[in-house]
Symmetry: none
Subunit: 409 residues, 2 copies
């Protein structure tokens, strides 16, 4: 029986989609996935282009689309998600960046983009609260060498290029305007960015923490490199956009940031690392608990994407098998719709995101169960959903849940 | 193994798609196509709407879309392709037309729209270089009665109606503005068009070439009728749009014109006529050679469309069998992705373009080989590509080739 309102669980296995490689199979085909397969067998299946066919999605734009927010309209730039994911507060007009502690020599050449993969709260504190041209800068060290940086002030722009060249040995780049869209805002912003980067070197290079690191033979974290500028603008939260209370369970900060941006409650989970060593049992438990106060639970697993980027077929296969056994097995009987999909493909053969569409299944009351009985990139192609787009998915799910707006009468 | 960058061959069989007619089969189903079928068997298949479902595409708009340029944004009007295909130079703002030599009586009634299917370089020269209201007119006789006409001057518009009524017995039409989009440009342009048509009659009617033709009992080519106005604006060439060097092999001038418009190198081929008598062997050889300096080769065959327009089932079937044997057999082992498709359907039962989607297959490293093993309008419907659109195709192909831009990070 279809109830008036139902709940739904959306499991996104990051970068899950793949191309056939080992013995003509994808990691998802090779993996042991009896529980996902049962959900496919009982559900309606299809292929999904997160953005549209042929477009290679970033993880950020793909998640926005799949969560029902067209990234062509709502994408603020990566830095916003990094800052929100690091629990920093954002106000309208704030410009946020992904940032790295890095090691440079005295000619400003990058020796180690990641400063030995080691950051420091003391170093972050030394920069936190700086003010340049009336713009206040805050900085937070998240994991290892990674930071998020927020600039607060008037007339800032996100159309500024990255300082991080992604190449070791080359000099630190100057940020330049990417377009001159908002009058002088881009010029003002690049000045502040470039000055901040220079100040970070002056302050950090002589900092006692770095002197200690040098003594121990460790690379000093003597500069902060910025990239992925984004500008914060409030968007209609999920409660307003769809009508339900939504929760997010994720390890990696980007996904927590996307969730906060969309007004979801981010539920902390012990041992959720955003890597292959994440505690899937705890995430499954957290998802089940989350339904106590929420109608919609978005559950994210990152490890599949990492293995794709590393070109590790077996690693990806094993991660999928673990997701099936440690996570899907535990959530499969939840009293809600279940949707399993990916944000994009990260084929192990090319070690990057690709535009190959991802499998998607929806299981629950009243779905048009098709003949698909295996959850993989090939089997779902003949399923009842056909080939849909990311922005379609939440509309389909929310209609099943009983939250919908009719177009016309 | 997937390389960093790969090449691709796109074979477009014009008007290939059809509806079931003879014994419930389409010409493509009836034809003998072992090589296309093998490519389908090893590849990923689907159906494609060049524009979108239900839209009947012209050959020009369909090719723009399939080559990755949304015709809603990039379509300049047919005349531009005709002029470029006739090797005429175009500058920004030039207005170009398809044109015909025709035969009219002294009351300006059209006796023969095609002037006995016979043009003349001398007659073209008699009109070439005319100037009307500061606008310079050039004209080139291409094949038979066909011409391309270019008008160069300030403030011209493409929004002018055709002079060619497509009906014999009726009077030559006056060109009128189709909209008043650009101030007075349409009014200025129709004046020049109408004056040029009248001048062409005055100059050609008494021309010695036509006096000779009359003596021989041939219809005089005593007027030039214009249609399909287009205005030239430069578009980002393929090298910029996708990042690769592209070549075109085609017989018919429209397709060469589209290719030039998109910055492709058009490779001349001995015996490539753009009709059913074209030399397919030579086209295959030219395609293989083209890969020496190019990453992407677009190979066009026109004869299938001609047979559709003539309602000739057997002719179309035979043309398809020839394409398979004389062309696909020779290119099938090329070290590149191969994509075979059509620009639109031209069903023999209705002798015109239709919106029925066309079959499409992509074969090469890493494609998700599906269960389709026959390349036809019915078999491909269950393939792994599902139903895509023309503008998706080059994005999908270029991602396989390793040329892509990520949306987001």
């Amino acid at each position: 029986m279809i109830k008036n309102k139902a709940k739904a669980l959306l499991l996104i296995c990051d970068g899950l989609g793949d191309r056939p490689s080992l013995d003509g199979k994808t990691p998802l085909q090779a993996a042991d996935t009896p529980f996902m397969d049962k959900i496919s067998e009982d559900g309606i299946n299809g292929l999904m282009d997160s953005i549209s066919p042929g477009i290679v999605p970033g993880s950020d734009t793909a998640h926005l689309a799949i969560l029902g927010y067209d990234p062509h309209k709502y994408y603020p730039g990566r830095g916003v998600f990094e800052a929100l994911g690091a629990d920093m507060e954002l106000c309208e007009g704030d410009v946020a960046f992904r940032a790295n502690f890095a090691t440079v020599d005295d000619k400003m050449r990058v020796i180690d983009r990641r400063a030995g993969r080691k950051g420091s709260e003391d170093l972050a504190d030394a920069l936190n609260g700086l003010e340049i041209e009336g713009v206040e800068i805050s900085l937070k060290n998240t994991t290892e060498h990674r930071c998020a940086v927020v600039m607060r002030g008037k007339n800032l722009s996100k159309y500024v290029s990255d300082v991080d060249s992604h190449e070791e040995g080359s000099e630190v780049k100057k940020s330049v305007p990417l377009k001159l869209k908002e009058g002088g805002n881009e010029l003002k912003t690049v000045n502040i960015v470039n000055e901040f980067v220079m100040m970070s070197y002056e302050i950090l290079n002589e900092h006692p923490v770095n002197n200690e690191r040098r003594e121990k033979g460790e690379p000093p974290a003597n500069i902060v490199l910025l990239r992925g500028a984004g500008i914060y603008e409030a968007v209609p939260p999920m409660k307003e956009h769809f009508g339900f209370d939504a929760a997010c369970i994720a390890g990696a900060s980007l996904y927590k940031g996307v969730a906060k941006y969309l007004g979801m409650d981010v539920i902390p989970v012990e041992g959720a690392t955003g890597k292959t060593d994440t505690n899937l049992n705890n995430k499954a438990e957290a998802a089940l608990h989350a339904f106590e106060g929420h109608d919609f639970v978005f559950l994210h697993v990152k490890g599949t994407d990492d293995m794709g980027h590393e070109g590790d077929f077996e690693g990806k296969e094993n991660m999928v098998s673990r997701i099936d056994k440690e996570l899907v097995a535990r959530i499969k009987d939840v009293d809600s719709y279940i949707c399993i999909t990916a944000d994009h493909s990260t084929p192990v053969s090319i070690k990057r995101h690709s535009s190959d569409p991802v499998p998607v299944v929806i299981n629950g009351d009243g779905v048009r169960k098709d003949k698909v009985n295996k959850f993989d990139e090939f089997s779902v192609a003949s399923g009842g959903l056909g080939r849909i787009r990311g922005v379609d998915l939440m509309l389909i799910l929310s209609d099943f849940m009983g939250y919908y707006k009719m177009f016309g009468t």
